[in-house]
Amino acid sequence: MRGKALMSNSLRIAWKDLMELFRNRLGLVMLVLMPIFMMAMVGFIFPSNNSLNHVPVALANQDAGFGGSTVGSQVFLTVLNGINDQTGMLDISNVTNLDALKESVQRGDVQGGIVIPSNFTQCILSGQQGTLIIMTDNSNPQVSAAMQGALTAVFQQMGTMLAQQNVIALNPAINATSALAIVQPYNVEVEGVVSGHSSYFDFIAPGIMAMTVMMSVMTGLPAAISQEKEVGTLDGMMVAPINRLSIIVGKTLAQTARGLLQGVLILILASVLFGISIQGSILLVFGLLLLGVFSFVGLGVVLTSFAKDQETAMMVMMTLMFPMMFLSGVFFPVQQMPWYMQSISKVLPLTYAADALRKVMVLGAGIPQITTELAVLITFGLVMIAIAVPVFKRAMTR
């Protein structure tokens, strides 16, 4: 009976909060825009595999030829253009010599260059290694590293083809496949646990979902309550003969609904705009989001009790939010961090929520594979609520 009254009063308060939310047009627009911005920002800022396109590159062909033939550089250019037509990675322009190339880089017209030395054909035809030079732009290490990597791969592929032909030329009995095996005895194939191509979005989308939903409780709850305290409407609920817990339960329900709404938006955006698919069960995804909310409620309530006014509440929130965002492996893998940061990360519940969500969404894991994360989240939630309830009750009647 008491439980029933608590629940129905909580629902009334949640209804009231949501009504206020839906009548606030600007707030509603922001509610939709926030996840869009978030996804777009992190999605487009961070480099992914195919983000390097049409890098301007200069080519200085100084090949002097050997016996009137420039076959070495011709073959090279044909293959290079062939590969580049497929990937569209480089925009190649021709320059006359090395100095012109350097100047182009200095002017910023191109971001690197390829130099074919004068003895290129001579070396290849006389059975020596043909050397190519990649000039990089030292002022932009990231682009030059990517270009370097890509060009090296191109040269390597060409080298392999050439070697393959040479082997066949030496012994016509060997077929092409065996010739490849002689030139390159090891072949590496990369395969994910789940088939298909995965991008940075796959990594980041679950984290952002977890973060948005949980933050909505952690920050939304104190903000909502301290706002009502300041305006004075909280007194209206406090003088009603209801269990004061229903105020917090009701507000939590409203904030959870708001957070889940944003979570769903992120999910839709992620799949429509960035082509992410959920490998595991979608029910489990929502279950995890709810569990995340549960684990954060206590923390939110404690903060609510300590924050006297809205301004303080917001400041406390910001202070806690940023380390949480960056240390929980939402944007950067935890494994990249130094050990002490990793240990901090291990005590943040968001880490576990984001991890579990990633496992389910990207790797298609089920409950048995995420028991540790579940246990941590449940324990954290229970402990925080056990602390929060008495603290809240005291704080409300100061």
Binding site: E20, V231, G236, M238, V239
Partner: protein
């Protein structure tokens, strides 16, 4: 059971059976600052009781403690026999509160607001609907029922604020500065509404105000509160009589050539308690003793003052307030001010020169 406890704690104070609110040594301290200091009073059923005092005197804190919103540091209070701390939920069923701040959600309509708060009081659907119709009709807001409260004028909002507190048909209504910031017309309307409520429903009303006129117009009894203490408590008439009874006369003087020097001279007179300047030529003097009139006229003449007119006026509540909360009274309040329960006001107030 609780009544019994209350009586035991209440030794020496004649507890009327009809007392609906009994306050005993109620104290609230915020750190070192004592907002409400050992306040003791009781209220009878159907009474309008006013707490009159300047801003920061402890009026709101007293109301917040009585309405279970703040926990007292010391002392007890019961409403309808229920302790405001131990049986807070029972108390909440009996009371309604109109606080200084608007308890209304701007983005909800008038009806939605009332519906929300009525639900929290566990009112049934039909009963609540009827009650909402009734209350909106009462304050003539029926046609605004479906409009968002945020679009209302402050007068309309305050009416909403008051009928919200009446949803659960409270036996006791707390009104914290109910006419603050309202235009004269709305103020009159709200006051009439309060009186009507008291007469028709026999609702016991505790009202705080810093407006003397309001207290004078509405309240059966007035407690003057200053620095957290109730320094006087009686009917408006008795409070005023206490001044006259204490041999205090109040004059207004119109002096054509009023100078600061003249004011200082008047203030220095032995028989003068306070001198307040009302405009460039009018002053108001509280004086005592049979020869006060002569002394004042003599003093003005001695300074070549040109008395245009002089009037002996009846004390208003404002005069009472000035009389009691003057600085010297404050300093000696502990010894000189009789207990709030004392029926005969403040005959023992020291009558030194003020300011």
């Amino acid at each position: 059971m609780l009544r019994y406890i209350a009586v035991v704690h209440n030794e020496g104070v004649a507890l009327n059976n009809e007392s609906i609110i009994v306050v005993q040594n109620l104290t609230k301290a915020f750190g070192d600052f004592v907002a409400v200091d050992n306040v003791t009073f009781d209220m009878k059923k159907g009474e309008i009781f006013g707490l009159l005092g300047p801003n920061g005197a402890g009026k709101s804190t007293t109301i917040r403690m009585l309405s279970t919103l703040t926990r007292p540091t010391k002392g007890t209070a019961t409403i309808g026999g229920f302790d405001v701390v131990k049986q807070d939920n029972e108390v909440r069923k009996l009371i309604g509160i109109v606080s200084e701040k608007m308890i209304m959600y701007n983005r909800l309509t008038a009806r939605e607001n009332l519906w929300f708060f009525g639900n929290l009081f566990g009112m049934q659907k039909e009963e609540l609907n009827r009650r909402i119709d009734e209350l909106l009709e009462l304050v003539q807001l029926t046609k605004w029922g479906k409009a968002q409260v945020g679009t209302f004028s402050s007068g309309m909002k305050q009416k909403m604020n008051i009928i919200r507190a009446l949803l659960n048909m409270p036996q006791v209504l707390f009104l914290d500065e109910p006419t603050l910031g309202l235009d004269p017309q709305s103020t009159v309307e709200i006051r009439e509404f309060i009186r009507k409520l008291n007469q028709e429903q026999n609702t016991t009303i505790l009202i705080t105000t810093h407006m003397m006129v309001e207290a004078d117009l509405l309240c059966d009894r007035i407690g003057i509160i200053d620095h957290g203490k109730i320094v006087a408590l009686d009917t408006s008439t008795n409070l005023k009589n206490a001044i006259s009874g204490a041999n205090t006369t109040i004059f207004t003087l119109e002096i054509a050539n009023l100078t600061p020097d003249l004011l200082a001279t008047l203030r220095a007179l032995k028989c003068v308690e306070t001198v307040s300047q009302e405009n460039s030529s009018h002053i108001k003097i509280h004086a005592h003793g049979d020869d006060a009139f002569d002394s004042i006229i003599d003093a003005v003449r001695a300074k070549n003052g040109n008395v245009v007119s002089m009037q002996n006026i009846q004390p208003t509540l404002e005069d009472v307030f000035l009389h009691i909360t003057g600085r010297e009274v404050r300093d000696t309040a502990d010894q000189k001010i009789p207990l709030a329960e004392h029926r005969h006001g403040f005959g023992g107030v020291s009558r030194g020169r003020r300011r």
